[in-house]
């Protein structure tokens, strides 16, 4: 039975705990928040384990894994302390504030023979897992030629109304808390160490109308690895409807995944002359129908829900700790994600 601890008992902790409680062979032994009331309310609601305001008290319970669900500014320090006290860590995204902290945490974990991962749950949604499997089967016909990741966002009153919200003090401000989902999936398939990043950012009229001119919320990025694979990343708070899409283009075939609709669609090949206007739309319709059926079947099997990706990721990570097998997100990918994010923010701020 794996012993699990939680540090940071806010909204995100609620999401983690809901999924942890569905997983077998693990138990939450303690929850901790520097505001003791927050720790108490979580412990009382889930009615397992103990609650603390002091992390050392949690460490005394010797958890195998600690989830760090605090604001990102504290991820590095807390992560280090958890590792040094003997627990593996699952850190909510963004993993750390910059790539150098990310590398250090990974180094410490490796030295201590412990494991780390980051809460990129969307990378493990049903659709994302399906996409990964198709690509693994060689569908693209070689290494990817180009990748596109589009992430749209609607501003929330949380940080708009609160001038002291922690999001405002992140290096990438508002975008920093959200960017890693869309970038991590690029990092997963780019498979290189040090790509070049060219970023442009500006303030949307939405934010300008709210007198928020110091926060960039429109980002366009070009990422390239010498003469190999290239990628585009787009973050927008203006584009409607909200689209969260990932497109990957191979030398033979290409794919499109929609996070919001949980669909994976193959780009249909071309046909001769006028046939090209009639056959591909039919094939596309068939593909959409296939996705519909797939989602419905998964729904019936109780496997299709919003946080399915989080459960999958947590479960995989727990297994990797219990059986000492590879972690679900390779460390190289975590580092690359943060390198790209650092480069973007260094250029737009």
């Amino acid at each position: 039975m794996l012993k699990i601890g939680i540090i940071g008992c806010g909204r995100v902790a609620d999401q983690h705990v809901t999924e942890i409680l569905k997983i077998r062979n693990c138990e939450i032994v303690g929850v901790c928040d520097k505001e003791i009331l927050m720790a108490k309310q979580l412990q009382e609601r889930i009615n397992v384990g103990r609650y603390f305001s002091d992390v050392d008290k949690l460490f005394e319970l010797k958890p195998d894994i600690i989830h760090i669900t605090t604001p990102p500014q504290s991820h590095f320090e807390l992560g280090k302390r958890c590792l040094e006290s003997g627990s593996s860590i699952l850190v909510e995204k963004p993993f750390t504030l910059n790539v150098s902290e990310a590398k250090q945490l990974i180094e410490i974990a490796e030295k201590l023979d412990l494991k780390v991962t980051v809460g990129h749950n969307i990378q493990f949604s049903n659709a994302a897992n399906r996409l990964r499997n198709i690509i693994k089967s060689g569908y693209l016909g070689g290494t990817p030629v180009h990748i596109e990741s589009l992430w749209c966002h609607e501003h929330s009153n949380d940080y708009i109304n609160d001038k002291n919200h922690w999001i405002r003090f992140l290096p990438g401000k508002i975008v920093h808390d959200l960017i890693s989902h869309g970038v991590a999936i690029i990092a997963e398939f780019m498979n290189c160490d040090n790509p070049k990043v060219v970023a442009h950012g500006h303030v949307s009229p939405i934010l300008r109308n709210m007198n928020e001119e110091s926060m960039v919320d429109e980002i366009r990025v070009h990422i390239y690895d010498n003469d190999n694979v290239t990628a585009h990343y787009i973050f927008s708070s203006q584009i409607r409807p909200i689209i969260k899409q990932f497109r990957i283009f191979g030398p033979k075939k290409s794919l499109i995944m929609d996070h919001e609709h949980q669909t994976v669609i193959e780009f249909t090949s071309n046909y001769k002359y006028y046939l090209n206007h009639f056959i591909p739309p039919l094939i596309d319709a068939k593909q959409h129908l296939g996705n519909f059926i797939n989602n419905i079947v998964k729904f019936m099997k109780r496997e299709h829900y919003y946080e399915a990706g989080r459960k999958y990721l947590i479960e995989c990570f727990y297994r990797s700790v219990a059986d000492n097998t590879p972690v679900p997100i390779p460390y190289k990918q975590i580092v690359l994600t943060h390198k790209i994010i650092d480069d973007i923010f260094n250029q737009i701020y």
Partner: protein, 350 residues
């Protein structure tokens, strides 16, 4: 108004949290119109406070301080409560997550209560709660829900983070009173309506599935118009001799859900709705609840039998205690109030 009937003088410092909110800015306006001259308005950000500024503007003789801060910061609370005699606590967590509601309703309240512990001149903590904290489990259909009714003990099962936060908030205030003698009054408004709030039809029915399902039928809609509600809150903060009392706030001449919906459609614009009798909705909630449980939360348990009963079983409401102890009566009649409200929903602020 006679100052001698009040627990504080017109120049005593008064703190209003959530002062930029829907009800908060009206509480500020009411206090100013009663003649209180020394207000501290707690806001999270002073960037978008035009409605608050608008209500303050006509009272140029009063000293109104806009205090920018976050109630989650003990330091901000300490500064904001300095020398304060009466505190109107309207800030609250209104989101969907339990942790978020707890944080902004309960942790904020604890910080405020802690910060006034050493304030020797403090007279009253006015805790703005909500009528949703009650349970009507032991009330038969159409029975009266008053201040003596039981507080919902199965609130987590109800799945409503907001109401849970409010119950825990009330408990915190009562605990601090028991431990440290901090004087308090609790007010529990019904559904507050007026310009500034577009959607209030929750107790009439639901629109989750893309069209309006009307469930309330002949149930009484526990409305209180924003100006009437704000006045009740203010009186609860200043009247003598009501320490530890709880007041539910609803107006007179409460309409039924059906008649309100009819008026709404006629004044604002028609839209498609179908009526679902209570027993059908109860059965739907039963199925939803079971599926949610069986599927391990694949659909959230937002519809459950408990929520159904609280919202639509049919309960009557009273404002007698408000009238008896606070001499309150609704200044704006239902006819005037509904007209102003429907005008706002239809035409916006212009």
């Amino acid at each position: 108004m006679e100052e001698s009937n009040f627990i504080s003088s017109y120049n005593d410092p008064i703190l209003i949290t959530g002062s930029n909110g829907f009800i908060g800015h009206k509480v500020v306006e009411t206090l100013l119109s009663y003649g209180f001259k020394n207000l501290r308005c707690f806001v999270r950000s002073s960037k978008n406070i035009s409605s608050l500024k608008q209500v303050i503007a006509p009272f140029d003789k009063a000293r109104v301080e806009i205090f920018e801060g976050n109630l989650l910061s003990a330091e901000d609370c300490k500064k904001a409560t300095k020398h304060v005699r009466v505190l109107f606590h309207l800030a609250a967590g209104t989101e969907k997550s339990f942790a978020g509601c707890y944080m902004n309703s309960v942790v904020t309240t604890k910080n405020l209560l802690e910060s006034i512990l050493r304030n020797k001149t403090f007279k009253r903590f006015v805790n703005v709660s909500s009528i949703t904290v009650y349970s009507n489990k032991n009330l038969n259909r159409n029975k009266l829900l008053d201040e003596e009714c039981e507080i919902d003990s199965n609130i987590i099962g109800r799945g409503e983070a907001y109401s849970w936060g409010k119950i825990m908030q009330d408990q915190m205030v009562i605990d601090y009173n028991k431990k440290f003698n901090i004087p308090y009054v609790i007010v529990r408004p019904g559904v507050v309506y007026g310009p500034g709030k577009k959607r209030i039809l929750g107790l009439v029915g639901i629109d989750t599935f893309g069209f309006f399902i009307h469930i309330g039928g002949s149930n009484i809609f526990p409305l209180t118009y924003i100006e009437n509600c704000a006045e009740a809150i203010v009186l609860a903060g200043i009247k003598k001799g009501i320490e530890g009392e709880v007041f539910n706030i609803v107006d007179d001449e409460l309409p039924t859900c059906r008649s309100f919906l009819k008026m709404y459609k006629k004044s604002v614009g028609n839209f498609f709705s179908i009526y679902m009798p209570y027993c059908f909705f109860y059965f739907f909630c039963y199925l939803w609840e079971k599926y949610s449980k069986w599927s391990n939360g694949q659909i959230p348990p937002v519809f459950n039998r408990h929520v159904c009963a609280i919202g639509y079983k049919g309960t009557r409401y009273t404002n007698q205690k408000l009238k008896n102890l606070l001499d309150w009566k609704p200044k704006v009649s239902f006819n005037q109030a509904s007209k102003k409200y429907f005008d706002y929903v239809k035409n916006g602020d212009n």
